[in-house]
Subunit: 462 residues, 2 copies
């Protein structure tokens, strides 16, 4: 039956689009989450939507499980194949079909790397308002399937808010095309919402219409020191009120994180002497379309005067702003300087943030010998990242124990076990910490209705 | 069986919450679309979520059809009961449960009138960024069920973008509660999307967490004259680039509409002499958090210099701005001054707008004797409103002929038959003009999965 299936796939797509056995390179066998290394049955690389449709039609007929792969940059095992899967790689569905300047939209293939799409928008003096560290490798289809977040959410929303239209292939090979470019469209159910953030379990996105924004004409970055989370909340309210939608980023670093990044990472500056303080990195639009420099200075002066801030440094040049951002973005140094570690992406209601961090820090210190924990996050979006290091051999790293401590604490604070990374396979067992039985049952109802044979990314999410 | 059902409902909710026979007032029998006047079997008015759940549990057991009613301000028959329905009115599920200033959210019951929710946000110096003419009567639950639009969409998005969390009762009485306050939450499928814009056909929203924004500190309204739609598109691109997210409204009036509103409607000013021109009403944030007056003046000067604008008047006071807006908002005069008429709410890709309007004007002139047509809309969102008057007796008004001409023309321009009003019953027969067979089939799949007995708003949307 397996031979028959492969023959059909080769027949449908052409030999060169179907890899199997020793032709399957390592990169299809594991994703950035490095959960496992699998042996897929075959890797198919369709070059158009009809090809994806034929593959699913065939796999559906055979009840063959399929894993969809994009840039493989996910951190929860969402694009990790299982042994014997047919991998559908979208790497050849690449390119920009259209940038519509009048409508302020772009139409792109799902396999297009994010950075390529960002550049195409910029070439037309427009802005694709989604950005994350993996921009060079991650693909638009994966950004949609995971409802990607990143640094610009506080201003522009998640990937969901950028999607105006989709072309999708359903589990049985049906092509669903709604490449809508209009901001308002209430003609029936908004089906595209079902394929955003569902991690490829309800259908495969092949093409998308994305909303574009004007490019912010200039921006200013500021580093501030604050005494505690209450001061952060008070200052955030003040910033929202004064700066409105000119607020582009509001990133908080807890003391351990800031110390690590400014002392352990070579080449990073230390613009604020702030032992024990929280450090805030804020960016505001300050061009024609933003607030004035005077207004920003006034805001900081008020923050200092009211005791919300204890110190503030405004970047005086693009180079200095970049240096501020390197402090926040040097998380790529963790594997070198902080291994072995495990990291978390959670959301916590902002009013709970202080007790969450304070208590979790204590719990981990007490329960996990010699552990070191760092906190940082997109605090304006309630999104907290946590990194826990334990000086031990990788094999004896107490991952499950730490998972359980952190997610239990998240549940107690009515938080979310996934802010922006999704569920995949790695967080699946904790899903009921954030969602009720009734909700999980309804997710299963959806999965059964859309993919009754469970061939699409089986075992992921629900 | 009917007696039994009513007895069970009275038993579950108490006699005072169940009306039947002559107790049922006129207002439950017809909505603002005045499609029909129906005789419901009963009207139930639950006072809490458990009450709604009990009603649906009972109706589901009896296979009894249910129509959900909010403020009854819909224009497509979406809340119109059919004879023999049990009407679930949410009018007693009213009130603000919580305004969370730190999180910038509010939690409200579905039956809360929009204006009451707007006011509660304003009382906390925050802004609920959805607004429409029916604000005094329409309810939050209806705004969610129809994914309401309005004048602020270009800046803040539709109702969908304001919803962070929902409590919903499913067709079988299951309560689904996810009153999330966090901006980022990718823990499993985002089920709330299924209840936004699906017009009560998949579940009944009982409570919602809404996102709030800072109140724009000041704004300026401008009326501009332009020669044609190409000039509008060019000027819109310029505005987006210069003004960014300080653009609050971008409303276009075609010549017939502007003439009507400034000549036929008493008390309206005529700030621009503009025979034959398109007239644009634009509003920009111009406070601390917006653009400067100089920047706005510069923008208008450039528009005039480049020939996009032929004239522009900036409102010099709040009173003058209100007068400008009365020109746009005097559509409530249509029933008095323009009857009988029929009106349309469609979306058209912005690059198609000119040919759409020009051709449709000709088609209606030619095909419908003595008809007069006016065009206006939220042009920055691709949303066009059309009003067609024919001087004839109401009984002989050629409504179906006009519907067919307009929607056929919409289909030819790849537009949407509903921008913000929804489908309900009145637009259902035209749904396949905007959506494919595959899409409509998938909507039915969803309906069958969520409401297998088809008791919720049966016959609406799909």
């Amino acid at each position: 039956m397996t031979d028959q299936l492969i023959a059909k796939l080769r027949d449908a797509l052409g030999d060169h689009c179907v890899l199997f056995g020793s032709q399957i390179e390592q990169r299809y066998k594991t994703d950035w989450s490095r959960t496992v290394v699998a042996e897929p049955l075959a890797v198919v690389r369709p070059t158009d939507t009809a090809g994806v449709a034929r593959v699913l039609e065939i796999c559906c007929a055979y009840g063959q499980s399929v894993t969809v792969q994009g840039g493989m940059t996910g951190l929860v095992g969402g694009s990790q194949a299982a042994d014997g899967d047919v991998v559908v790689s979208l790497e050849r569905l690449t390119g920009i079909e259209d940038v519509d300047v009048a409508a302020s939209t772009m139409t792109v293939w799902a396999g297009t790397p994010l950075q390529m799409a960002q550049q195409a928008a910029a070439d037309h003096n427009l802005y694709l308002a989604i950005d994350l560290g993996a921009r060079g490798s991650c693909q638009i289809g994966g950004n949609i399937a995971t409802n990607a977040g990143g640094n610009r959410v506080i201003r522009y929303g998640m990937m969901r808010e950028q999607v105006l239209g989709l072309e999708v292939v359903l589990a049985d090979g049906t092509v669903l095309s709604h490449l809508n470019k209009m901001l308002k469209n209430n003609a029936g159910y908004d089906l595209k919402q079902l394929f955003i953030g569902t991690e490829g379990t309800l259908g495969i996105v092949t093409k998308a219409v994305l909303r574009l924004h004007p490019i912010p004409s200039a921006s200013t970055s500021v580093l501030c020191a604050l005494n505690n989370e209450s001061a952060v909340i008070a200052f955030l309210a003040r910033v929202r009120q004064r700066v409105g939608s000119s607020l582009l980023a509001f990133e908080l670093m807890w003391p351990e994180f800031y110390q690590f990044m400014t002392q352990r990472v070579q080449g990073n500056p230390k613009p604020l002497e702030s032992s024990g303080s929280l450090v805030l990195l804020m960016e505001c639009a300050t061009g024609n379309d933003g607030i004035s420099s005077e207004s920003l200075e006034e805001l900081l002066a008020l923050g200092l005067q009211e005791g919300e801030l204890t110190d503030a440094v405004v970047a005086q040049s693009g180079a200095q702003a970049e240096a501020f951002w390197r402090i926040r973005d040097s998380v790529s140094e963790f594997p070198t300087l902080f291994a072995p570690y495990c990291s978390f992406d959670v959301s916590i209601p902002i009013t709970q943030m202080q007790s969450f961090v304070t208590d979790l820090r204590q719990i981990l210190l007490k329960e996990v010998s010699n552990s070191k924990t760092m906190f940082f996050g997109h605090i304006g979006d309630s999104n907290l990242h946590i990194v826990v290091h334990v000086p031990t051999a990788r094999e004896t790293f107490p991952k499950h124990q730490i998972d359980e401590l952190v997610y239990t604490h998240v549940r107690q604070h009515s938080g979310s076990i996934s802010a922006e990374h999704g569920i995949g396979t790695r967080k699946k067992q904790w899903l009921n910490f954030s969602r009720s039985e009734a909700e999980i049952a309804l997710m299963r109802t959806l999965k059964n209705a859309f993919d009754p044979k469970h061939i699409l990314n089986p075992g992921k999410v629900v």
